[in-house]
Every structure is written in C-alpha cells, then in structure tokens.
C-alpha cells in the first residue's frame, strides 16, 4: 500500500509531487496531510518566512508542493520531506488535529430531482440516483440509504477542484457504499449538492458540472471569500482537509429555514474545536444509538 521510500515526481521547475503509496487508504491520506502541515510549519520556509515553500496540496496518496527553486533546491526539498516523513508515527498511531463539522442535508430533495429530470430530458434518460445506489449496494429502501449514509463520520481527504469542494472518505472501515459515475457527466449540479462517486462523497460549493450520483442538498455556505463572520473569519472555506463531517438528515422545510437563517446571519454552524486524533481511534465504528 505505502511505499517504503516516497516517489518524488518533478512537476515543472516550481512543483514537486510526492507520492506516498499506490492505492487509496486513510493511512496514506493521513501521512499526506501530516507532511503538508509539517512543510507549512517548517520554521522560516513557509508563507510567514522567506516563502521558499509557497503552497501545498495534499490528496489521497500525494502532496503537491509549490516551491521557489531559487531559494530551495529540489534536492533540498526532497530531504526536508524525507525528514518530516521519518518523524511521523507509523500505522494507526499517526495523529492529526481535526474538527468535526455537522452538515444538514435534505436527502432526495426537489432541487436535485429537478436537475436529474433536466438531465433525463436534455441528455438521456437514466435511473433515479438514490434507487440506483440502493440497487448497487443491496439496500432495500431509500430511507435505509439515507440512514446508512448519515450514520458514520466522513474524513475530508482532500479539498480542491473548485473553491472549497471537499472529497470525503468513510472513516468506518466496515462501511461500504459505492456508486458509478454519470456517463456523460452532468453539465450542472445545484450548489450544496451532496453526491456519491466510487466510494467517495463530495459536496459542491457552487453550481458546477460533475458526474457523481446526487444524494441530497445542504443549505450551508461552503465558500465565502468576503465574509469576516464565523465560520469564515479565518478561512474562506467551511470544510478543510483533515476535518471530519457528519451528515444530519433534514426536511426541505428545514432546508429553507436554514437558508433564511444564514441570510440573516443567525444560523449557528456546528463545528467542534480542533482535537488531536489518531487514525486508530477514528476507525472505531460509532455507536448506533443516533
């Protein structure tokens, strides 16, 4: 799964792609995020110092690093990565600071259904998204699917593509939910759509083309570069890499109510303080009480 020695891949003269493993795993992703954070904290080299390290983009098995090759050679950067990786705990002991964010979702909502109907009419007729996911995964009812999808904590493995779009991996190793992608992709997806593709869940901050199967829609704002109000006072994105997400089913009526509360500035986002958590702890299944 993980390489013994990372593969360093040149991506132009200002970027280095560090590949930590050949397949997707929470462990590879934890290590990628930990390396990214260690590089950004490297005293004096990062954004607050001489800007030798300009940016990092962790993903499932890789970290892309943008650096200034006139201040830090590629060889020097590789050595720095090697050093940081050697400092990380092995296996399930690896720890990261992580917040838990609740995302209310109107599952099987009328806005995503309208988008689906538009696709059927203008591109080609396809199977209902939630029914397809039920069929592929052997679930009896759409209600069972909604209960299952919202029963676990999801791990934010990467954020990117377009402003603040998180891609989530299930933290419970026994959780199995998969979905094929649209072919051809949709030309648009409503903002706030929560969708499943492969074994990942994505949330769309804005109207965007995509191919994941639509599950529902959240009224929350995921990207706000202008606001200095909570939760955007420090970052323009609601969900950052290394956060955890718990979906909370809501009705369409509650969706519209939350929309109004957000507009009025009275909505209370549910975001826990960052806590240091180990991969081992997080992979314990949640008690089924809720």
């Amino acid at each position: 799964m993980l390489y013994e020695i990372p593969r360093y891949r040149t991506s132009g003269e200002r970027h280095l792609l560090v590949e930590l493993g050949e397949s997707v795993s929470l462990e590879a992703n934890f290590r990628a995020i930990a390396l990214s954070r260690a590089l950004e904290a490297s005293a004096g080299l990062g954004a607050k110092g001489i800007k030798a390290i300009i940016d990092t983009q962790p993903s499932f098995t890789t970290v892309l690093i943008e650096y200034n090759p006139h201040l830090l050679t590629q060889e020097g950067l590789k050595q720095l990565c090697g050093h940081h990786l050697s400092q990380l705990a092995q296996g399930e002991q690896i720890k990261l600071e992580s917040r838990l964010i609740e995302i209310p979702v109107a599952y099987n909502d009328r806005w995503c259904r309208a988008c689906f109907e538009d696709y059927c009419k203008t591109i080609k007729p396809i199977e209902d998204n939630l029914e397809l996911i039920c069929r592929v995964n052997g679930l009896e009812t759409v209600e069972a699917l909604i209960h299952y999808h919202s029963s676990i904590e999801w791990w934010v493995g990467t954020v990117g593509f377009i402003a603040g779009l998180p891609v989530l991996m299930p933290l419970d190793p026994s959780f199995k939910l998969r979905a094929p992608k649209y072919d051809p992709p949709r030309t648009w997806t409503p903002s706030g759509t929560v969708a499943l593709g492969g074994g990942f869940t994505a949330i769309y901050p804005m109207v965007t083309p995509d191919g994941y199967q639509m599950l529902g829609r959240t009224p929350l704002t995921l990207f706000d570069p202008q606001s200095d109000q909570a939760p955007f006072e420090e970052s323009p994105v609601l969900i950052s890499v290394g956060d955890r997400v718990k979906f909370v089913p809501i009705s369409e009526a509650r969706f519209e109510e939350i929309e109004r509360e957000i507009k009025a500035g009275t909505y209370q986002y549910s975001i826990s303080a960052a806590q240091s958590v180990s991969l081992g702890e997080l992979q314990q299944p949640l008690p089924l009480a809720a």
Binding site: T10, E22, D55, Q57, T62, L64, G160, G164
Partner: protein, 330 residues
C-alpha cells in the same frame, strides 16, 4: 463590491483613487487581472488566476512605472470600448488588436496620455489572443485573498468577480504622473514578446512520464499539435496524435480508474499537461487544483506566456529540456 472612489487626491503614501473609465462595451471577456495573482490557496481549490501572458502584462506595468502588483485589464479576442472619465496615462501590451483612440490608431508598447472624454476601442489581432490595458497607478479594486485578479467561476476578485459589462466604472489610483506631462517610455520591438501561429514550447518530463512508452514520448515531441477551439483560461486542449501508454499505466491499482490515463486524484497546477484520455490538455491560470488524469509533461515557466497567447488553430511543437536549463530561463 467595488470600493467607493475617494475623490480627494492625497499625495504621498496614502493611496487615493478616482473613477478613470466607463465601459461602453464589455468585449468578449474583459477582466481585471494582476500578477502573479493568488498564491497559496491550492489547498482550497482556488487557482492563481492573473494574466494568461505574464510577460506582456509585466512589461505593460513597467511602461507606466507601476508597482509590480498593479491591476490592469485582460482583453480576450474581442476588445471592449472604454470612455475615459479623467486625464491619465495608459499603456497597451500583448497581442496587437489594433487599438484606437477616438477612431485614430494608437501605438502599443508605449505610454500614452489620454483626456477625459477620449474613447478607446479595439479591432482584431491577427496573431496572439490576449491584450492588456494598463492604467497609471493601477486599478483600484478590493484585494480578495491576496489579489485583485478575477476568477469568474467562483465570482471572486476583480469587479464583482465577473467580466466587464456596459455601464461599469473602474477607478485607478491617483499618481503624480497624471497631473504633469508624461515621461514617454517605449518597449523596443526586439524586447517585445514575438507573436506567431507556430509556437515552440519548452517542457519538463514529469510528473508521470513513466506512464508513457518511449515511443509515446517521441511521438509527443514530433507531433505538430493543433490548439482546439475548446481552449480558455482554464485549459488548452490539443489535437494531433494518439498514445499507447506504458505497462505501468495499463497495470495499476484499480483505485486509479479504468482508462490508462486515469490516476488517483492528485494536485495539479498552471502548466501541468494532463492526458485526458487521448487529449493533452495544458492547465492554465484558472485551472482546478486536483485532477484524475495523469500528466507526463509540464510546461516550463518561461514558455507559459506563449500558451496564453496561442489562438485556436495555432500549432505547438514541444521540446523537452532539463530542470537546470528551465531555471536559467527565469
């Protein structure tokens, strides 16, 4: 939101601005950009944005002795029509799109003084895709995430995050320059970027050159690539050859996907050459920060402006150079 213009000129360190142009026609896609744009936000999915041809853009600011981060306008293919609201100095750089002031031809690559009521318009460029209008002092717009550059897909930066439209007004910072006769600066023809329909682009191997066969790499270099009409500030698509891919691309972890060009999502950036199936796509200034396609080559920094100036139908030839050579070009 555009910041409210401060009408009282203040000299010295405090920067005051006042309205400088009114947009009579927006053109195809005219946007406010600055250089280098947004740095350090890949992890949030925010691209760099900024000018597609950073070379012309930087020269334009130098003509006016503007700060390096001064914002100007990027014109794509069809130019806008702008009416000046006060006297100022401007400079036009990039592709020669036949600028006119009050219907009279206006020279590019030089400083020009304009008066209130003057109207700036444009014709069409025969080569090159993008031109730049710079204003003395630079345009005054809110700095969003470290830059005034427009990223239209996320409605970010620039003027309300969008392209210019009829009726818009833009302000520029007041400088001493606007109140006294202009020192005239020129960029001599030999110092200007050389425009063409055949572009030689230098690339580095990687990150995934091991997913192509040696014959594939040779084919990439020997092919005259044609720039597709589906090319914009997000990416440039190329047409010209098909590839076999290497055994590593065919026999890989199933997490990567079915097609040999599919790869577990990873970080990508300005200059990455993705192979989307059989279609090489050069990621440009407004590109996504993650991709699921492999990338065997990356455009060197010094060649990026050429991609940004290429028109659909132009041709590309690629040359592989090494890291040390690429750094010497900076």
């Amino acid at each position: 939101m555009i910041s409210s213009p401060k009408l009282t000129p203040v000299r010295g360190a405090v920067q005051a601005s006042s309205p400088v142009v009114e947009v009579l026609k927006g053109g195809l896609e005219t946007t406010v950009q600055d250089y280098p744009g947004r740095e350090g936000y890949l992890q949030m999915g925010i691209p760099r944005s900024g000018p597609m041809d950073p070379k012309s853009f930087q020269l334009g600011n130098q003509l006016l002795q503007n700060p390096a981060d001064a914002a100007g306008l990027e014109i794509q293919f069809v130019g806008p029509k702008l009416k000046f609201l006060r006297a100022t100095a401007i400079a036009i750089s990039g592709a020669n799109n036949r600028p006119k002031l009050n219907q009279q031809p206006l020279p590019m690559w030089t400083t020009v003084t304009v008066q209130a009521g003057d109207v700036l318009s444009f014709g069409h460029a025969h080569s090159g895709a993008r031109s730049y209008v710079h204003f003395a002092g630079g345009l005054d717009l809110p700095v969003v995430m470290g830059s005034r550059s427009t990223f239209t897909r996320a409605e970010l930066g620039g003027l309300e995050g969008r392209k210019l439209e009829k009726g818009d007004r833009l302000s520029s910072f007041l400088t001493d320059v606007t109140e006294k006769p202009q020192p005239i600066h020129h960029i001599q023809p030999l110092q200007r970027p050389a425009f063409s329909h055949q572009w030689n682009i230098e690339v580095l191997l990687g990150p995934h050159d091991d997913w192509l066969s040696e014959q594939d790499i040779e084919k990439f270099i020997q092919t005259d690539w044609r720039v597709s009409s589906m090319s914009d500030r997000v990416g440039y698509r190329l047409e010209g050859a098909d590839f076999d891919f290497s055994p590593s691309a065919h026999h890989k972890s199933p997490d990567n996907g079915d097609h040999p060009s599919n790869k577990i999502d990873y970080g990508c950036h300005l200059g990455t050459i993705l192979f989307c199936g059989q279609t090489p796509t050069i990621l440009m200034v407004d590109s996504p920060s993650l991709t699921g396609y492999m990338a065997p080559f990356t455009v060197c920094q010094a060649s990026l402006w050429k991609v940004g100036q290429a028109r659909p139908g132009d041709s590309f030839r690629f040359q592989v150079i090494d890291q040390a050579t690429a750094l010497r070009r900076h």
